[in-house]
């Protein structure tokens, strides 16, 4: 590591230094590990919360949407349908939330130590990732109970996962940079996430959406990501190449936008946070 370091004023759009990010990969792991340990050491059930949360959500949604509102679930058993949606949605919501507050939660590091700042939002995904893995295993168990085996479109799952991650991380990066300056914007993001839940068919089938509102739901990229998630795992719903390509392009654009905006504002973080 004896390249020359050059320090000078930076303006405008800066390239992303992937090589440096790779050099600091261990730190991403350590920070993610720290967040995970800290959360579960303090929790009553410890790591059990990762199971309790999705189970509880599924019970509530099945009751409210399935029994009370009597919505349909594209021909699947309601709990299974819901759990699939919840597992995906929870991860994306967590990834957006965690990346947004990643800078605010690490003010002390930002003002005292050097490392590529992108490390913070990326490591912020760690906690959501652990919760995801645990609840995904739960999902597989539930599938087994209902006698479902993964459909032949299973290999599309990582694609939809990546799209959702790219989209939420891109937005998260944008907001994390803004939140460094305006701390109260994190509440706006939390509100946005809640609002977004209501325009995404997470716990009810897409067929339930009234004609007049369809355009609203269809313009929401997360609708297709969640649908795609369900489609690749359980084989229901409509998915075609067009929808995949459009949503993927959108995610790439949002992610790139977020990355570059973050990099551009990076130099000021330590001064304004």
């Amino acid at each position: 590591m004896s390249d020359q370091i050059v320090i000078e004023p930076e303006t405008g759009w800066i390239r992303i230094d992937f090589k440096e990010l790779f050099e600091y990969r261990e730190l991403i792991g350590f920070l993610a590990w720290r967040d995970i340990m800290a959360q579960y050491k303090q929790a009553v059930f410890g790591i059990g919360w990762a199971v309790v949360k999705p189970v509880f959500s599924v019970i509530v949604y099945t009751l409210v949407f399935g029994k009370v509102a009597k919505l349909s679930s594209s021909g699947l058993p309601y709990p299974l349908f819901t759990l699939c949606g919840v597992v995906a949605w929870s991860f994306f919501a967590a990834s957006l939330d965690q990346s947004t507050v990643s800078l605010l939660n690490n003010t002390n590091l930002l003002t005292k130590v050097y490392f590529p700042r992108l490390i913070l939002p990326i490591s912020g995904l760690g906690r959501g990732a652990v919760d995801f893995v645990i609840s995904f295993i739960l999902l597989l168990i539930l599938m087994g109970i209902y006698g479902f085996s993964p459909s032949k479109t299973f290999y599309f799952l990582p694609v939809f996962f990546a799209m959702g991650l790219g989209l939420t991380l891109g937005i998260g990066l944008f907001f994390s940079a803004l939140c460094a300056k305006y701390h109260d914007l994190k509440f706006a993001v939390q509100f946005l996430i809640q609002l977004w839940f209501w325009v995404t068919p997470v716990a009810y089938g897409i067929e339930n959406i009234p004609e007049k509102l369809k355009i609203l739901f269809f313009l929401n990229p997360m609708t297709w990501i969640i649908e795609g998630f369900r489609w690749s795992l359980l084989g229901v719903g409509e998915m075609d190449l067009n929808k995949i390509l459009i949503t993927a392009s959108f995610s790439i654009v949002v992610l790139s936008g977020g990355l570059f905006y973050f990099r551009r504002m990076e130099g000021e973080f330590a001064d304004i946070i």
């Binding site: 020359q4 370091i5 930076e10 350590f30 005292k112 109260d184 330590a270």
Partner: protein, 410 residues
């Protein structure tokens, strides 16, 4: 001929005053403000924290950076550490850099000592393999073998500092940037820290050391730069630079007033600071002349907002020639920490077993792991009537251990 490892050229850094005083981090307030006043009529006040700073550092050099509070020393280190970007100018660095701007950065209270060693080391730039290798040495240096599996929130402040410094002490960068981190801890620990810095120096590493402690600077640094109001006032061999800096302090300080107010220039960028000090005798009369064996009382007024819950106060007494005489600190020595609402503190120092002469007192606020504020030469006093030949015990002046007591006043 040693190669140049750091080259600083015309470095300048400008801050908006709003940023420094952390005006508003609220979007809501910003929007409201936009509607309230006539938008755009606000002047944006800026301040140059550093202006046209240029210097070079050779490999193996230990460079001291001195100056009053608010002069720009920490800003310089921050830029060299790549934590903040310069407004103008350029820096070229050849070699790996580690910065110690704070001790215990990133420590998490719920994690154990061992876990925090890994975390802190990684944050400071060590690879996991390296940490595995050095783990035992770090635990050894910190002297906390029995407690490494206990969560750090249970540690005493002394243990915390030892652990934090132990990690930092085992960094092996080519270039080390240190910002007054030797401030905390008890005397034995500080001695250990200085010793370690000396080892680092002997290993041929380059060190940049910011401090208010002129003795440490004299002892460790071969050369020094004096920064005043963002510019380099002087650079060269330590003795010369430190001498001139102290002289300038004395010149502005022929002020033997009993009540001394802080120079507002020093307050830029400080959230919590010492505002005023009064010097009295035990009968609560203002004075600045004390006889041998008398006690001295300081009433210290602080101001501002402190984000931490509590803080500790330190005083240092120096002879006017700059030699260090004695010190006392409420936290590390007595476990007395003041609540952040306490703005007035009484320090009772004495009996004053010092030799005759002029003395100056420096005051510091210590929070957590760092010095929030240091007021060098806050006040002066004269000590008289010391008769060395008629004393029962030998005075090992000028350094001595002096009795003192701290208390909060409301």
């Amino acid at each position: 001929m040693s190669e140049t490892v750091i080259k600083v050229h015309n470095l300048s850094k400008r801050y908006n005053l709003g940023e420094l005083h952390n005006q508003t981090n609220s979007f809501r307030d910003k929007v409201i403000g936009f509607f309230k006043k006539n938008a755009g009529s606000e002047k944006r006040e800026t301040i140059w924290a550093l202006k046209d700073v240029s210097f070079e550092v050779k490999k193996g050099e230990i460079l001291g950076i001195i100056g009053r509070n608010g002069a720009g020393k920490s800003t310089l280190l921050k830029i060299l550490s790549r934590i903040t970007k310069p407004t103008r100018g350029k820096v070229l660095i050849n070699g790996s850099v580690s910065s110690l701007l704070e001790v215990g950065t990133g420590f998490h209270p719920e994690l154990t000592g061992r876990e925090n060693i890994y975390l802190n080391s990684a944050i400071l730039g060590m690879r996991k393999a390296e940490i595995d290798r050095k783990l035992d040495k770090i635990v050894d240096f910190a002297e906390i073998e029995k407690f490494i599996y206990t969560p750090v929130k249970r540690y005493s402040s002394g243990m915390y500092v030892r652990l934090a410094f132990a990690v930092a002490a085992h960094l092996e960068p080519d270039i080390l940037l240190v910002d007054e981190v030797l401030a905390v801890g008890d005397a034995a620990f500080q001695k250990k820290c200085i010793g370690k810095m000396e080892d680092v120096a002997m290993e041929g590493r380059t060190v940049l050391f910011v401090s208010h402690n002129m003795n440490a600077i004299r002892r460790l640094c071969g050369s020094a730069i004096w920064i005043d109001k963002g510019r380099i006032a002087q650079k060269g061999p330590t003795a010369q630079v430190v001498g001139e800096h102290e002289e300038s302090q004395l010149i502005r300080l022929n002020d033997f007033s009993f009540v001394r107010e802080r120079d507002p220039e020093e307050l830029t960028g400080l959230d919590f600071y010492i505002k005023r000090v009064e010097m009295l005798n035990p009968k609560m009369e203002y004075t600045n002349i004390f006889s041998y064996n008398d006690s001295l009382i300081l009433l210290v007024d602080l101001d501002g907002e402190l984000s931490e819950n509590k803080y500790s106060i330190e005083f240092r007494i120096y002879k006017d020639s700059g030699e260090f005489a004695c010190t006392g600190v409420s936290g590390a020595l007595h476990g007395i920490y003041f609540d952040n609402h306490t703005k007035r503190i009484k320090i009772n120092i004495g009996p004053l077993i010092l030799t005759n002469g002029k003395y100056k007192i420096s005051l510091s606020i210590i929070t957590g792991m760092s010095r929030a504020d240091t007021w060098e030469n806050a006040c002066l006093f004269n000590l008289i009537n010391c008769r060395p030949f008629s004393l029962p015990q030998e005075i090992k002046t000028p350094v001595c251990v002096i009795q003192h007591a701290f208390s909060a006043m409301e």
